[in-house]
Amino acid sequence: MDFFVQVLIDGLMNGAIYGLVAAGLSLIWGVMDVINFAHGEFLMVAMYTCYWIGMLVGLDPLFSWVLTGAFLFFLSAGSYKFIVRRSIGKAAMAPLLATFGLSIFLKNFCLNRFTPNFRLLSGTSLEGKVTHIFGAIVSQPKLVTAIFSLVMLCVLHYMIKKTRIGRAIQATAMDREAAELMGVDTERIFTLVFGIGGMCVGIAGGFMTSYLAVFPEVGALFSLIAFVVVALGGFGSIPGALCAALLIGLVESFAGFYIAPVMKYVAVFALYLAVVLVRPKGLFGW
């Protein structure tokens, strides 16, 4: 029973974090119908940024997430301006492959500069602290990351549904030309959406540095999971992404514990295939 609660809580925490990582991707996909293949590498860049801020300035990830979020906002918006925008509409999958090129570049740039070694930020304020919840042992840095991910997702959802700029984003997603006729500067919206997508992953990466080691390949798995979460949740839907992410997190941790650790991602991807074959547009898509 203890194990069950432990596995359940682990799954939910992972799920919430996947939710924030995937939210940015989902937004970009929903509004522009572009898959940002460099999403996982943005996460890696965010983690390195946070790591170096921690090492050089001594700022705790609990605070430096603001900086990584801002940095990734500009990195992501810039990569839209200079790369994605120029490849949209030219050929099928051109933006996807262009961002794949960016991901290779970023990964190997970090490999070249920072070596392939695993780096774990030590001396953070929550390091090694645990909380007991119903007999389960929960690491505090991870718990804080998960809770903050949920908060961020709520903020993002509120922003898209209620604010003026959020409505402009929705309008652009529904019908670009009609939105332009209504006076929405869709080019700016696209840049903004890319920036927000990068910011989400930047914030997630900033927090994750407090419990996860950084290395150049760290983003690869997260980006695959994020793709699956987005496709499962239906594009552009933040609540859909969160539900799908929680489901993926639970399947991952239960399959990892009750079947075999190596089977956890097999189970995740098999679940995705099974769902998408019955509902080709995902669980919450239309």
Binding site: S87, M93, L96, F105, A231, V266, F269, A270
Partner: protein, 345 residues
């Protein structure tokens, strides 16, 4: 009048293509007989890789380029072929030929079984489903002890011979083998290009609904293209295993390997006969060159160049080298239309 002119241009183009094609084979074949041209040198290694990757890209091009179904899952079929050869050599200690054939047939059957449900998905959903398939296969192969698990299969060192398709002292045999593979796969594509299947595939790519309304069974065409594509990719995988003397899951069944199929084709020009060859002929030597000449800058620099090249290509000319050739007017008017897909003229 115009139409007649067009068909004349087309047959002329075909003639030029045929001459180029036969000339290319003749040059590549002649290298075997020139003493010193092929042997132990790294140039031979680069030539073998160019021929291998061109063949891989061409096998992908059948489904992705001609039929318009962009799959990121071809490393699965590549891996099945590699494991077919590896199992025959290592586990059964026999000649690899039966294993290669078995691997290719298994790959074709698997591709149909996977393609059947996946072809219901469109666009990005299809792409992500194929990513997921690669991950599943890669991880299952990693823990499957019968086929060597994570350690993979290490080839025994045996005497060089054609019957085992292994050479350790020089690369002439591999070069000949790669050339045969190259001619075979490009020959198959050359053959179907002007046959019914080739036209059906292009019709499905242009518009599935339109093609169906004209009586093309799009599912059947897509599955045929998939099976053929997987069969040929598996043959390349078998060659890859024989060439590297070993096979393990991350080496063959990874997303990076899948992307190689896609990127070389796109770099050269998707849906064109010459594209895969041009892509491999530019990319492979460039990569081998940058890896050695930029090594002083530290690890990963060649991959950074590769990444920048992809970005540049997608931003500047997503139709690849064939698109550039058309842009600079090296191809004629008709070809320009074909290569750039521009219907405005």
């Amino acid at each position: 009048m115009n139409d007649k002119n067009g068909s004349f241009m087309k047959s002329k183009r075909r003639l030029i293509d045929n001459i180029l094609w036969i000339g290319l084979i003749a040059v590549l074949a002649a290298l075997i007989f020139i003493p010193g041209a092929i042997g132990k040198s790294t140039h031979t290694h680069v030539l073998v890789l160019v021929l291998l990757y061109a063949s891989m890209a061409q096998s992908w091009n059948i489904l992705g380029g001609y039929c318009g179904q962009i799959s990121f899952g071809h490393s699965v079929f590549f891996g099945l072929g590699a494991y077919g050869a590896g199992m025959a050599m290592v586990t059964y200690g026999s000649m690899p030929w039966l294993g290669i054939l078995a691997g290719a047939i298994i790959a074709a059957v698997t591709s149909v079984l996977l393609g059947w449900p996946c072809f219901k998905l469109r666009g990005h959903y299809f792409a992500i489903a194929t990513f997921a398939i690669v991950e599943i296969f890669g991880r299952v192969f990693l823990i499957w002890d019968w086929i060597g698990g994570a350690l993979g299969l290490d080839y025994p060192i045996i005497k060089d011979s054609w019957s085992y398709f292994l050479w350790s002292s020089n690369k002439t045999g591999y070069y000949t083998g790669a050339l045969v593979l190259f001619v075979f796969i490009f020959g198959v594509v050359r053959y179907i290009e002007s046959r019914k299947l080739g036209y059906y595939m292009r019709a499905v790519k242009e518009g599935q609904e339109t093609a169906e309304s004209l009586g093309v069974n799009s599912t059947k065409v897509k599955l045929t293209a998939m099976a053929l594509s997987a069969f040929l990719a598996a043959l390349c995988g078998a060659f890859f295993a024989q060439y590297n003397y070993r096979v393990d899951p991350p080496m063959v069944m990874s997303l990076d390997m899948s992307m190689k199929f896609v990127l070389i084709t796109i770099l050269g020009g998707m849906g064109t006969f010459w594209g895969p060859f041009l892509g491999a002929a530019v990319l492979i030597p460039l990569q081998e060159y940058t890896r050695t000449s930029l090594a002083f800058l530290g690890p990963g620099v060649d991959q950074m160049v590769y990444g920048l090249l992809i970005i540049f290509m997608m931003v500047r000319q997503p139709k690849g080298i064939m698109g550039f050739l058309a842009e600079f007017g090296i191809l004629g008017r008709n070809e320009k239309k074909e290569a750039t897909g521009d219907d405005a003229s």
